[in-house]
Homo-oligomer: 609 residues x 2
């Protein structure tokens, strides 16, 4: 019994094919694989008769096609001519369409296609011939002679094989020679460097019937141009980046024909255009970086592995639904946060380096190990991956750091602390700190109108620390730093903050103004001033107009504000409910101890515990 | 490359074996299956050489054992004598231990074993001989002649084959004859009926090294004694039931030896013992039902399928970790709520009935279809299952209801609305209602000290309705119904409520007292009385002592309290953030419309919008 009896053939039987088969088994689909290796990752997970042969061998592809209803690919470097012939001369459906694969195969043709359709990409110019002279004249004629530039191979380029950073005109010889060696004579092109602050990716799915859905934008971290770590969702200070990234990706895919899942890799720029290569400081202005499309893969993608455990439907399940024209599955995250780290073969060729991470992952709650069943472990080969789902970005980053720490320095996936990377997307001074008390990815923000409020607000911070809740603390004054307040309030939700505590005295506008500019729950703490006993602040904070609530606590109630924040975020973190119950028992015990003392010494002698 | 190179052999190759293999593939484990069918569900998902033969065929088991390091089972009705011989005479590890399987195989021996170890079970007495006379004399001698009783086969009984409800002494002949037919001559026993309000289950895992972890307690709904629907986690008015159920299950498993995952099925009683069969009304007293162990399965279990998508580690992954003595994985739910519905073969033998549900599930966000690859679709056969993960129990129940609605009435999995079932565990009058405005599984509770507060509090309910948040609303008076208040506050969290809104006037103790008895965030609404302009209530609610926060809103701020509740629970339901942003834009537009009007008519003429 199957959800659909049509037979599917996949060109390629590596890890992407393996995960497609595993997704297909849940619907009991009939899927066959074409792949040279008789025991390839994909073939291992099925007792079907598979096909032996290369995914660009015309005869092999035709043999596979003769036994299936639908052909699809797990790699774009396939024999497109044969697929076009099959599409024309048989009833076999080819998804994605061969014409799409043809355009995407040649990265310069892909760029030209995108430019023609007004999709933002980095300026790209093809070399007339594969020579250093041609490279230098392109840079001089089209890029004002400004180095560095990226030299890229047009074809057979993936996982960074085919990219060369040309730092100066003197590098031209070396660059052309190196790329000619690894990527053959398929042509080269020059790309203007994108001064990105983050690399991001969106998986887009289109069904045969034309329905399109997009997964959340994620942050990808590359090592030597190989995708190495992925964090989902992308968290930035600009609350529009998520939507804009999905829009760019969806618009780009709508310019191509055919069904399936597409991986869209993009650059998020700091300054909205091409400025200096320096990452400019972002102090006191919101990040509104432009998004440039880098490249498209017409298939499931490494940056979408996380969807298996973290999303309502995996990219693999949705690829199959798309090519079978079944209803596309929801793409939402079903967990608060996820991280993925690739297990790459190591310098020494031994399995030990990879297995060390996999074994460590067995000890990390929420970590899922995926080994692909490959035999050889040569350097850079993708042997598996680990996805970690968790209650917060803070928790997931911590776990990814634990795994990264097992890599030798020369081999580190994340060159620096990944927190530092994320942190660069935050508005200063919430930007960056490696301490746990003020982490770059806090769940609770504690802000106060003035440093004089710290004596009250520190109690909130202490509670958060005691409960192990990542938080940040700073001064934001409604009246003296209105810009900063607006920036803070508007960026909090998209930075991953789930609750804000704001303290203020006197006219005490901060909590209410912050609440007016965020959908997050805002807890207001009235701080007692020198006159009116704090009643002024209390009324300023609590008597909010219809539509904008502030959760007000008692005058000088910093501690209770911290506890209330813990109660609020416990909805997404059930472990906190246990801690809160323990805390409550502690309060009871404290009173019982006083009762005992009072009984022991009599009330006349009682001087406190 | 594998996380562990030891070879594992499984006796049995059905759907449990299939899911074990799928979990094993993620770690690239070498797993072989012994099963008669050459294309059984488990064999389909692996290109390994498997073994053909019955899981109780001595020679076949020995052939498998000769090629592996560890033997395990996906069914308990295996040939234990051979496993014992293998354990004694070879180095092959058998997990779970054959002695454990032997005790569990015979359900009466299992009960005796549990009674001997003081695990609570329903009173059970073996028949001396398999005859109606013996049945009647056991009921007379041990159960005061009181019918109905359950007659059960000792062996070869699973999925309800082997249970017979004996309503009166006259049923004895029919009962014994029926069970003798389906379960052979392995012996019968009588079990006193457990007047349960819910059937619950806990999966327990023990590793070779002796580490033990338990999954959350879940509610299981049976149809003709076949597990049919599972809801995770179990939500009850008694906040201790979760822990007690896990304790009973863990204690029971600790009386057996050997490693692996164990399914522990239990009854939750209404009245703490054996009362009348009637389900007593639970009005005005907390539910503190006793838990009786029903039976144990020494393997992955149907009630644990949900763990694949809903928990940090699946029961299948943890079974493999346990028998390999790898670190056991975290058992926490990683999603707020999950439901599982079995796809059982239908009366007419056609696939259509099952496929109808599977196809419908493709349209439900968060639904995961699992088809097992079985060919025949005879009545009652387990053809697959669907797990739905969602943001709340309300949402998941709604989706399970949608699927159940596709079953013909005679075949319905859930005889009544499953909500009705859950609802019976709630304290009245929060007990039960089928309307969406007062559902049995609300996320927000709106309570007020008096019906005179309704004029203010209805605005909160309206906001929740507008945002599609399931809520309940009732009167709870701190001063006039203190018992009810305590019961309400103490049960809210374990019933699945995530935020409480409490309104009160005058001395206004309700919000603070509720906050003192729950770890949930409590929003307090000061209701203006006839004197003091509401300042009395405001100060009563906001000026809480250290340790117990109340999120206070403005006097008569019912609407803002509703909005604050939406902000609070949006942490676990990101879609609400979008709705809140939309609401905010609505507020802006309202003001802009007034600006336009005022400009149009001049301020002198302006009379409001």
């Amino acid at each position: 019994m199957s959800i659909d009896n049509r037979r599917i053939g996949i060109l390629g039987g590596g890890q992407l094919g393996r995960m497609l088969l595993q997704a297909g088994q849940l619907l009991n689909l009939d899927i066959r694989v074409l792949e040279n290796d008789a025991n390839s990752p994909a073939k291992q997970v099925s007792n079907k008769e598979h096909f032996q042969g290369a995914f660009n061998d015309a005869d092999a592809i035709k043999s596979l096609a003769a036994t299936v209803d639908i052909l699809t690919v797990e790699i774009e470097h396939v024999n497109v001519a044969v697929l076009e012939e099959i599409e024309k001369t048989t009833n076999v459906q080819v998804s994605p369409s061969p014409s799409t694969i043809r355009v995407i195969q040649d990265k310069y043709t892909q760029k030209e296609h995108l430019m023609r359709h007004n999709i933002p990409v980095a300026k790209s110019i093809a070399l007339v011939e594969q020579s250093p002279q041609s490279l230098r004249s392109v840079v001089d004629a089209h890029l004002n002679g400004v180095y560095p530039v990226m030299l890229k191979a047009r074809k057979q380029a993936y996982d960074g094989k085919g990219n060369f950073l040309v730092k100066s005109a003197q590098d031209a010889e070396n660059a052309v020679e190196t790329l000619s060696k690894t990527a053959g004579s398929g042509g080269l092109y020059v790309e203007k460097l994108a001064p990105f602050v983050a690399e991001i990716a969106v998986m887009v799915v289109r069904s045969v019937g034309g329905n399109v859905v997009a997964y959340p934008a994620v942050e990808t971290v590359h090592e030597d141009s190989v995708c190495s770590v992925v964090f989902a969702p992308l968290q930035t200070a600009d609350s529009n980046v998520q939507q804009r990234a999905q829009d760019v990706a969806t618009n780009a895919i709508s310019t191509f024909s055919g069904a399936g899942v597409f991986g869209v890799e993009m650059f998020l720029l700091a300054d909205g255009g091409f400025g200096a290569l320096e990452k400019e400081p972002l102090i006191n202005r919101p990040l509104s970086g432009q998004i440039l499309l880098n490249e498209i893969a017409p298939r499931p993608h490494n940056s979408g592995h996380y969807t298996i455990e973290a999303c309502a439907t995996s990219q693999y399940a949705n690829h199959l639904r798309a090519i079978l024209d079944l209803p596309l599955g929801a793409t939402d995250l079903v967990v608060p946060y996820a991280g993925m780290i690739n297990l790459l073969g190591r310098n020494d060729g031994s399995e030990e380096g990879v297995l060390k991470l996999a074994r460590k992952a067995l000890e990390i709650p929420g970590a899922h190990v995926h080994l692909y069943g490959k035999a050889g472990c040569r350097k850079g080969r993708k042997m598996g991956h680990i996805t970690i789902v968790g209650e917060s970005s803070h928790a997931v980053h911590k776990s990814i750091d634990e795994l990264s720490a097992l890599l030798p320095p020369s081999d580190s996936r994340v060159k620096e602390n990944p927190l530092a990377h994320i942190a660069s997307l935050l508005p200063s001074p919430f930007r960056k700190s490696d301490t746990t008390s003020n982490p770059a990815n806090p769940l609770v923000s504690v802000v106060m109108g003035s440093d004089s409020d710290l004596k009250v607000m520190r109690a909130a911070a202490e509670v958060l620390k005691d409960f192990g809740v990542p938080y940040e603390l700073s001064i934001v004054s409604a009246h003296r730093t209105p810009d900063r307040m607006m920036q803070f309030a508007q960026s909090a939700a998209s930075r991953g903050v789930r609750c804000i505590i704001a303290g203020a005295g006197g006219a005490a506008h901060l909590p209410g103004m912050v609440a007016a500019m965020t959908p997050l729950p805002v807890i207001g703490v009235p701080v007692k001033g020198s006159s009116l006993d704090g009643v002024d602040s209390l009324h300023s904070i609590v008597q909010m107009p219809r539509g904008i609530p502030v959760a007000t606590v008692a005058i000088n109630g910093g501690l209770n504000a911290g506890l209330l924040a813990v109660r609020v975020i416990s909805a997404g973190m059930p472990r906190l409910l246990d801690s809160l119950n323990q805390y409550k028992r502690g309060l009871e015990e404290e009173v019982y101890a006083k009762i005992d003392k009072m009984e022991a010494v009599t009330w006349e002698e009682y001087k406190g515990l």
